[in-house]
Symmetry: C2
Subunit: 178 residues, 2 copies
DNA sequence: ATTTAATATTTCATTTCTGAATTATTCATA
DNA sequence: TATGAATAATTCAGAAATGAAATATTAAAT
Protein backbone atom coordinates (compact mmCIF):
# COMPACT_ATOMS: atom_id res chain seq x y z
CA UNK A 1 0.00 0.00 0.00
CA UNK A 2 1.25 3.48 -0.74
CA UNK A 3 1.89 5.75 2.17
CA UNK A 4 -0.46 8.49 1.12
CA UNK A 5 -3.28 7.40 3.37
CA UNK A 6 -2.35 7.63 7.01
CA UNK A 7 -4.64 7.72 10.00
CA UNK A 8 -4.97 11.48 9.89
CA UNK A 9 -6.84 13.50 7.33
CA UNK A 10 -4.65 14.84 4.57
CA UNK A 11 -6.08 18.35 4.92
CA UNK A 12 -5.02 20.80 7.57
CA UNK A 13 -8.54 21.94 8.25
CA UNK A 14 -9.87 19.49 10.81
CA UNK A 15 -12.82 17.67 9.31
CA UNK A 16 -16.00 16.62 11.04
CA UNK A 17 -14.47 13.37 12.21
CA UNK A 18 -11.55 14.77 14.20
CA UNK A 19 -13.93 15.85 16.91
CA UNK A 20 -15.36 12.34 17.05
CA UNK A 21 -11.89 10.88 17.44
CA UNK A 22 -11.18 13.22 20.28
CA UNK A 23 -14.26 11.97 22.09
CA UNK A 24 -13.33 8.37 21.47
CA UNK A 25 -9.94 9.07 23.01
CA UNK A 26 -11.53 10.59 26.09
CA UNK A 27 -13.80 7.59 26.38
CA UNK A 28 -10.83 5.23 26.16
CA UNK A 29 -9.33 6.98 29.16
CA UNK A 30 -12.57 6.56 31.08
CA UNK A 31 -13.35 2.94 30.25
CA UNK A 32 -10.87 0.15 30.83
CA UNK A 33 -10.83 -2.24 27.91
CA UNK A 34 -12.54 0.12 25.48
CA UNK A 35 -11.84 -1.15 21.95
CA UNK A 36 -10.91 2.24 20.59
CA UNK A 37 -9.79 1.11 17.14
CA UNK A 38 -12.91 -0.90 16.46
CA UNK A 39 -15.15 1.89 17.65
CA UNK A 40 -13.34 4.40 15.46
CA UNK A 41 -13.76 2.17 12.46
CA UNK A 42 -17.44 1.59 13.13
CA UNK A 43 -18.12 5.31 13.46
CA UNK A 44 -16.05 6.07 10.42
CA UNK A 45 -18.15 3.77 8.30
CA UNK A 46 -21.27 5.56 9.44
CA UNK A 47 -19.88 8.97 8.69
CA UNK A 48 -18.65 7.99 5.25
CA UNK A 49 -21.98 6.46 4.40
CA UNK A 50 -23.91 9.51 5.58
CA UNK A 51 -21.77 11.89 3.59
CA UNK A 52 -21.97 9.71 0.52
CA UNK A 53 -25.71 9.63 0.86
CA UNK A 54 -25.94 13.41 1.09
CA UNK A 55 -23.67 14.08 -1.85
CA UNK A 56 -25.40 11.58 -4.09
CA UNK A 57 -28.78 12.94 -3.15
CA UNK A 58 -27.70 16.41 -4.18
CA UNK A 59 -27.21 15.08 -7.68
CA UNK A 60 -30.32 12.91 -7.77
CA UNK A 61 -32.71 15.48 -6.40
CA UNK A 62 -32.31 17.47 -9.60
CA UNK A 63 -33.80 14.47 -11.41
CA UNK A 64 -36.65 13.85 -9.00
CA UNK A 65 -34.90 10.87 -7.43
CA UNK A 66 -33.08 10.01 -4.23
CA UNK A 67 -30.48 7.39 -3.34
CA UNK A 68 -33.04 4.76 -2.47
CA UNK A 69 -35.28 5.14 -5.50
CA UNK A 70 -32.25 5.39 -7.74
CA UNK A 71 -30.74 2.23 -6.29
CA UNK A 72 -33.98 0.41 -6.85
CA UNK A 73 -33.96 1.48 -10.49
CA UNK A 74 -30.33 0.40 -10.90
CA UNK A 75 -31.02 -3.03 -9.46
CA UNK A 76 -33.69 -3.51 -12.11
CA UNK A 77 -31.39 -2.16 -14.78
CA UNK A 78 -28.75 -4.70 -13.73
CA UNK A 79 -31.04 -7.72 -13.53
CA UNK A 80 -30.17 -10.46 -16.02
CA UNK A 81 -33.51 -10.28 -17.81
CA UNK A 82 -34.22 -6.73 -16.61
CA UNK A 83 -36.90 -8.15 -14.30
CA UNK A 84 -36.87 -8.21 -10.52
CA UNK A 85 -39.18 -9.02 -7.65
CA UNK A 86 -39.76 -6.84 -4.59
CA UNK A 87 -38.04 -9.31 -2.29
CA UNK A 88 -34.94 -9.38 -4.47
CA UNK A 89 -35.04 -5.63 -4.47
CA UNK A 90 -35.33 -5.62 -0.72
CA UNK A 91 -32.22 -7.69 -0.16
CA UNK A 92 -30.27 -5.91 -2.90
CA UNK A 93 -31.02 -2.44 -1.56
CA UNK A 94 -31.21 -3.28 2.13
CA UNK A 95 -34.63 -1.68 2.39
CA UNK A 96 -37.42 -3.41 4.28
CA UNK A 97 -40.15 -5.01 2.16
CA UNK A 98 -42.75 -2.55 3.37
CA UNK A 99 -40.61 0.29 2.15
CA UNK A 100 -40.03 -1.37 -1.20
CA UNK A 101 -43.77 -1.41 -1.76
CA UNK A 102 -43.98 2.30 -1.10
CA UNK A 103 -40.97 3.06 -3.29
CA UNK A 104 -42.38 1.06 -6.17
CA UNK A 105 -45.72 2.80 -5.84
CA UNK A 106 -43.83 6.03 -6.27
CA UNK A 107 -41.76 4.87 -9.25
CA UNK A 108 -44.89 3.49 -10.83
CA UNK A 109 -46.59 6.83 -10.37
CA UNK A 110 -43.66 8.49 -12.14
CA UNK A 111 -43.96 6.02 -14.98
CA UNK A 112 -40.42 4.75 -14.48
CA UNK A 113 -41.30 1.10 -13.85
CA UNK A 114 -44.09 -1.35 -14.54
CA UNK A 115 -45.40 -3.87 -12.06
CA UNK A 116 -47.09 -7.13 -13.03
CA UNK A 117 -48.08 -10.36 -11.31
CA UNK A 118 -45.73 -13.23 -12.02
CA UNK A 119 -47.09 -16.05 -14.13
CA UNK A 120 -44.89 -18.80 -12.68
CA UNK A 121 -45.45 -17.99 -9.02
CA UNK A 122 -48.59 -16.08 -8.29
CA UNK A 123 -47.32 -14.85 -4.93
CA UNK A 124 -44.75 -12.82 -6.77
CA UNK A 125 -44.72 -9.55 -8.56
CA UNK A 126 -42.43 -8.69 -11.44
CA UNK A 127 -40.91 -5.25 -11.64
CA UNK A 128 -39.37 -3.89 -14.79
CA UNK A 129 -38.05 -0.54 -15.99
CA UNK A 130 -40.05 1.26 -18.62
CA UNK A 131 -38.32 2.85 -21.61
CA UNK A 132 -38.67 6.10 -19.72
CA UNK A 133 -37.05 4.60 -16.61
CA UNK A 134 -34.12 3.32 -18.62
CA UNK A 135 -33.58 6.65 -20.26
CA UNK A 136 -33.61 8.46 -16.92
CA UNK A 137 -31.15 6.05 -15.39
CA UNK A 138 -28.78 6.46 -18.32
CA UNK A 139 -29.14 10.20 -18.26
CA UNK A 140 -28.05 10.48 -14.64
CA UNK A 141 -24.94 8.33 -15.05
CA UNK A 142 -22.34 10.94 -16.06
CA UNK A 143 -23.11 13.13 -13.08
CA UNK A 144 -22.92 10.23 -10.68
CA UNK A 145 -19.68 8.93 -12.14
CA UNK A 146 -18.19 12.33 -11.60
CA UNK A 147 -19.38 12.21 -8.03
CA UNK A 148 -17.78 8.78 -7.51
CA UNK A 149 -14.56 9.92 -9.08
CA UNK A 150 -14.31 12.79 -6.62
CA UNK A 151 -14.76 10.41 -3.70
CA UNK A 152 -12.77 7.38 -4.79
CA UNK A 153 -10.70 8.62 -7.70
CA UNK A 154 -7.54 9.06 -5.66
CA UNK A 155 -6.98 5.38 -5.02
CA UNK A 156 -4.80 2.97 -6.91
CA UNK A 157 -6.21 -0.30 -8.20
CA UNK A 158 -4.45 -2.08 -5.39
CA UNK A 159 -5.92 0.21 -2.77
CA UNK A 160 -9.39 -0.22 -4.22
CA UNK A 161 -8.99 -3.98 -4.05
CA UNK A 162 -7.78 -3.84 -0.47
CA UNK A 163 -10.56 -1.59 0.68
CA UNK A 164 -13.15 -3.66 -1.12
CA UNK A 165 -11.72 -6.92 0.14
CA UNK A 166 -11.61 -5.80 3.75
CA UNK A 167 -15.17 -4.48 3.67
CA UNK A 168 -16.30 -7.62 1.91
CA UNK A 169 -14.87 -9.61 4.78
CA UNK A 170 -16.54 -7.42 7.37
CA UNK A 171 -19.88 -7.84 5.64
CA UNK A 172 -19.49 -11.60 5.44
CA UNK A 173 -18.79 -11.74 9.16
CA UNK A 174 -21.79 -9.58 9.89
CA UNK A 175 -24.01 -11.68 7.66
CA UNK A 176 -23.19 -14.72 9.75
CA UNK A 177 -24.99 -13.11 12.69
CA UNK A 178 -27.89 -11.68 10.76
CA UNK B 1 -1.50 -6.98 3.78
CA UNK B 2 -2.20 -10.60 4.49
CA UNK B 3 -3.90 -12.58 1.79
CA UNK B 4 -6.87 -13.64 3.81
CA UNK B 5 -9.18 -10.96 2.49
CA UNK B 6 -9.75 -11.27 -1.22
CA UNK B 7 -12.50 -9.80 -3.30
CA UNK B 8 -14.77 -12.74 -2.73
CA UNK B 9 -16.53 -13.63 0.47
CA UNK B 10 -14.69 -16.19 2.55
CA UNK B 11 -17.82 -18.28 3.04
CA UNK B 12 -19.21 -20.64 0.46
CA UNK B 13 -22.76 -19.58 1.05
CA UNK B 14 -23.29 -16.54 -1.15
CA UNK B 15 -24.06 -13.56 1.06
CA UNK B 16 -26.49 -10.77 0.36
CA UNK B 17 -23.90 -8.82 -1.57
CA UNK B 18 -23.09 -11.38 -4.24
CA UNK B 19 -26.39 -10.68 -5.92
CA UNK B 20 -25.59 -6.97 -5.96
CA UNK B 21 -22.23 -7.66 -7.58
CA UNK B 22 -23.89 -9.71 -10.26
CA UNK B 23 -26.15 -6.80 -11.10
CA UNK B 24 -23.24 -4.40 -11.17
CA UNK B 25 -21.51 -6.70 -13.63
CA UNK B 26 -24.56 -6.78 -15.88
CA UNK B 27 -24.74 -3.01 -15.74
CA UNK B 28 -21.09 -2.71 -16.71
CA UNK B 29 -21.86 -4.70 -19.83
CA UNK B 30 -24.72 -2.36 -20.66
CA UNK B 31 -23.05 0.99 -20.00
CA UNK B 32 -19.78 1.96 -21.62
CA UNK B 33 -17.48 3.62 -19.11
CA UNK B 34 -19.35 2.38 -16.04
CA UNK B 35 -16.97 2.68 -13.06
CA UNK B 36 -17.69 -0.76 -11.74
CA UNK B 37 -15.11 -0.80 -8.96
CA UNK B 38 -16.18 2.52 -7.52
CA UNK B 39 -19.82 1.57 -7.65
CA UNK B 40 -19.13 -1.72 -5.92
CA UNK B 41 -17.25 0.06 -3.17
CA UNK B 42 -19.97 2.64 -2.69
CA UNK B 43 -22.67 -0.01 -2.41
CA UNK B 44 -20.52 -2.10 -0.13
CA UNK B 45 -20.18 0.75 2.30
CA UNK B 46 -23.94 1.13 2.41
CA UNK B 47 -24.52 -2.55 3.01
CA UNK B 48 -21.93 -2.77 5.76
CA UNK B 49 -23.36 0.26 7.48
CA UNK B 50 -26.92 -1.06 7.29
CA UNK B 51 -25.98 -4.42 8.70
CA UNK B 52 -23.92 -2.83 11.45
CA UNK B 53 -26.85 -0.64 12.32
CA UNK B 54 -29.22 -3.61 12.55
CA UNK B 55 -26.91 -5.72 14.66
CA UNK B 56 -26.12 -2.93 17.06
CA UNK B 57 -29.78 -2.08 17.39
CA UNK B 58 -30.54 -5.66 18.36
CA UNK B 59 -28.32 -5.17 21.39
CA UNK B 60 -29.47 -1.67 22.23
CA UNK B 61 -33.18 -2.33 21.95
CA UNK B 62 -32.94 -4.48 25.05
CA UNK B 63 -31.85 -1.37 26.93
CA UNK B 64 -34.46 0.97 25.49
CA UNK B 65 -31.95 2.61 23.14
CA UNK B 66 -31.10 2.64 19.47
CA UNK B 67 -27.94 3.43 17.55
CA UNK B 68 -28.70 7.11 17.29
CA UNK B 69 -29.68 7.76 20.89
CA UNK B 70 -26.77 5.62 22.06
CA UNK B 71 -24.31 7.54 19.91
CA UNK B 72 -25.62 10.79 21.28
CA UNK B 73 -25.05 9.53 24.82
CA UNK B 74 -21.53 8.38 23.96
CA UNK B 75 -20.60 11.72 22.47
CA UNK B 76 -21.56 13.34 25.75
CA UNK B 77 -19.69 10.68 27.69
CA UNK B 78 -16.59 11.42 25.62
CA UNK B 79 -16.74 15.21 25.87
CA UNK B 80 -13.75 16.76 27.68
CA UNK B 81 -15.86 18.26 30.44
CA UNK B 82 -18.77 15.87 29.87
CA UNK B 83 -20.77 18.75 28.40
CA UNK B 84 -21.91 19.15 24.82
CA UNK B 85 -24.15 21.40 22.76
CA UNK B 86 -26.77 20.23 20.28
CA UNK B 87 -24.81 21.55 17.32
CA UNK B 88 -21.69 19.67 18.40
CA UNK B 89 -23.84 16.62 18.80
CA UNK B 90 -25.25 17.15 15.35
CA UNK B 91 -21.89 17.18 13.65
CA UNK B 92 -20.51 14.36 15.77
CA UNK B 93 -23.44 12.05 15.09
CA UNK B 94 -24.28 13.23 11.59
CA UNK B 95 -27.89 13.83 12.57
CA UNK B 96 -29.63 17.01 11.49
CA UNK B 97 -30.19 19.62 14.21
CA UNK B 98 -33.95 19.16 14.12
CA UNK B 99 -33.49 15.51 14.85
CA UNK B 100 -31.09 16.20 17.69
CA UNK B 101 -33.77 18.23 19.40
CA UNK B 102 -36.20 15.36 19.18
CA UNK B 103 -33.61 12.84 20.39
CA UNK B 104 -32.67 14.98 23.35
CA UNK B 105 -36.31 15.44 24.26
CA UNK B 106 -36.51 11.69 24.39
CA UNK B 107 -33.34 11.19 26.43
CA UNK B 108 -34.47 13.91 28.80
CA UNK B 109 -37.77 12.12 29.21
CA UNK B 110 -35.87 8.96 30.13
CA UNK B 111 -33.83 10.88 32.67
CA UNK B 112 -30.56 10.02 30.95
CA UNK B 113 -29.43 13.59 30.27
CA UNK B 114 -30.00 17.09 31.57
CA UNK B 115 -30.41 20.15 29.37
CA UNK B 116 -29.63 23.69 30.49
CA UNK B 117 -29.14 27.07 28.88
CA UNK B 118 -25.51 28.09 28.53
CA UNK B 119 -24.34 30.97 30.67
CA UNK B 120 -21.58 32.18 28.36
CA UNK B 121 -23.60 32.18 25.16
CA UNK B 122 -27.31 32.40 25.63
CA UNK B 123 -28.04 31.02 22.19
CA UNK B 124 -26.61 27.73 23.30
CA UNK B 125 -27.83 24.81 25.29
CA UNK B 126 -25.64 22.56 27.38
CA UNK B 127 -26.30 18.84 27.44
CA UNK B 128 -24.88 16.55 30.07
CA UNK B 129 -25.33 12.93 31.10
CA UNK B 130 -27.03 12.29 34.39
CA UNK B 131 -25.64 9.71 36.80
CA UNK B 132 -28.30 7.41 35.45
CA UNK B 133 -27.21 8.05 31.87
CA UNK B 134 -23.60 7.30 32.71
CA UNK B 135 -24.52 4.09 34.41
CA UNK B 136 -26.61 2.94 31.46
CA UNK B 137 -23.84 3.70 28.99
CA UNK B 138 -21.34 1.76 31.03
CA UNK B 139 -23.71 -1.12 31.48
CA UNK B 140 -24.18 -1.59 27.75
CA UNK B 141 -20.47 -1.59 26.92
CA UNK B 142 -19.59 -5.28 27.30
CA UNK B 143 -22.36 -6.37 24.96
CA UNK B 144 -21.36 -3.83 22.34
CA UNK B 145 -17.69 -4.71 22.58
CA UNK B 146 -18.60 -8.29 21.93
CA UNK B 147 -20.60 -7.16 18.93
CA UNK B 148 -17.63 -5.17 17.59
CA UNK B 149 -15.30 -8.07 18.15
CA UNK B 150 -17.48 -10.31 16.04
CA UNK B 151 -17.43 -7.81 13.19
CA UNK B 152 -13.88 -6.53 13.29
CA UNK B 153 -12.05 -9.00 15.48
CA UNK B 154 -10.51 -10.90 12.60
CA UNK B 155 -8.23 -8.10 11.45
CA UNK B 156 -4.61 -7.52 12.30
CA UNK B 157 -3.47 -4.18 13.62
CA UNK B 158 -2.03 -3.40 10.24
CA UNK B 159 -5.28 -4.21 8.47
CA UNK B 160 -7.24 -2.08 10.91
CA UNK B 161 -4.90 0.82 10.23
CA UNK B 162 -5.19 0.40 6.48
CA UNK B 163 -8.94 0.21 6.52
CA UNK B 164 -9.20 3.18 8.85
CA UNK B 165 -6.70 5.19 6.86
CA UNK B 166 -8.40 4.59 3.56
CA UNK B 167 -11.84 5.46 4.89
CA UNK B 168 -10.38 8.51 6.60
CA UNK B 169 -9.11 9.65 3.22
CA UNK B 170 -12.44 9.02 1.55
CA UNK B 171 -14.22 11.04 4.20
CA UNK B 172 -11.78 13.91 3.88
CA UNK B 173 -12.35 14.02 0.12
CA UNK B 174 -16.10 13.96 0.62
CA UNK B 175 -15.92 16.72 3.22
CA UNK B 176 -14.28 18.97 0.67
CA UNK B 177 -17.47 18.94 -1.35
CA UNK B 178 -19.88 19.18 1.52
C1' DA C 1 -24.04 52.75 18.25
C1' DT C 2 -26.69 50.89 14.62
C1' DT C 3 -27.33 47.79 11.26
C1' DT C 4 -26.35 43.57 9.07
C1' DA C 5 -24.77 39.03 9.00
C1' DA C 6 -23.89 34.77 11.22
C1' DT C 7 -24.79 31.22 14.61
C1' DA C 8 -27.70 28.16 17.69
C1' DT C 9 -31.76 25.99 18.59
C1' DT C 10 -36.43 24.90 17.99
C1' DT C 11 -41.02 24.29 15.69
C1' DC C 12 -43.86 22.32 12.37
C1' DA C 13 -45.46 20.14 8.18
C1' DT C 14 -44.12 16.55 5.38
C1' DT C 15 -41.56 12.59 3.94
C1' DT C 16 -39.44 8.29 4.83
C1' DC C 17 -39.05 4.12 7.23
C1' DT C 18 -40.20 0.30 10.33
C1' DG C 19 -42.70 -3.61 12.86
C1' DA C 20 -46.48 -6.31 13.14
C1' DA C 21 -50.36 -8.20 11.28
C1' DT C 22 -52.83 -9.78 7.01
C1' DT C 23 -53.70 -12.06 2.63
C1' DA C 24 -52.44 -15.08 -0.85
C1' DT C 25 -49.89 -18.69 -2.75
C1' DT C 26 -46.66 -22.49 -2.91
C1' DC C 27 -43.98 -26.15 -0.74
C1' DA C 28 -43.27 -30.22 2.12
C1' DT C 29 -44.83 -34.28 3.97
C1' DA C 30 -47.60 -37.48 5.67
C1' DT D 1 -54.87 -34.82 -1.51
C1' DA D 2 -55.17 -32.65 2.94
C1' DT D 3 -52.57 -30.10 6.42
C1' DG D 4 -49.18 -27.26 8.25
C1' DA D 5 -45.04 -24.60 7.36
C1' DA D 6 -42.70 -21.38 4.51
C1' DT D 7 -42.48 -17.59 1.31
C1' DA D 8 -44.12 -13.14 -1.10
C1' DA D 9 -46.18 -8.97 -0.99
C1' DT D 10 -49.06 -5.56 1.04
C1' DT D 11 -51.54 -2.71 4.56
C1' DC D 12 -51.54 0.21 8.31
C1' DA D 13 -50.35 2.64 12.45
C1' DG D 14 -46.75 4.69 14.52
C1' DA D 15 -41.67 6.17 14.82
C1' DA D 16 -37.84 8.58 12.93
C1' DA D 17 -35.83 11.97 9.98
C1' DT D 18 -35.80 15.98 7.01
C1' DG D 19 -36.34 20.89 5.04
C1' DA D 20 -37.76 25.23 5.68
C1' DA D 21 -39.19 28.80 8.45
C1' DA D 22 -39.18 31.10 13.00
C1' DT D 23 -36.91 32.86 17.22
C1' DA D 24 -33.19 34.41 19.88
C1' DT D 25 -28.64 35.83 20.53
C1' DT D 26 -23.98 37.20 19.35
C1' DA D 27 -20.39 38.90 16.13
C1' DA D 28 -18.93 41.93 12.47
C1' DA D 29 -19.03 45.93 9.74
C1' DT D 30 -19.78 50.47 8.97
Amino acid sequence: MSDRHGENPPEDRPDSFSEVERRIEVTRRRLRGYPQDQVRLARLIIHVQKRQNELTNQVLRRHGLNYVTYTALMMMYGAEDQATTPSELSSATGEKPANITRICDELLEQGLIERNPSTEDRRRVVLRLTRRGERLVEQVQPELWQRLERSFGGFSGSEMRQLTGLLRTVLARMDQDA
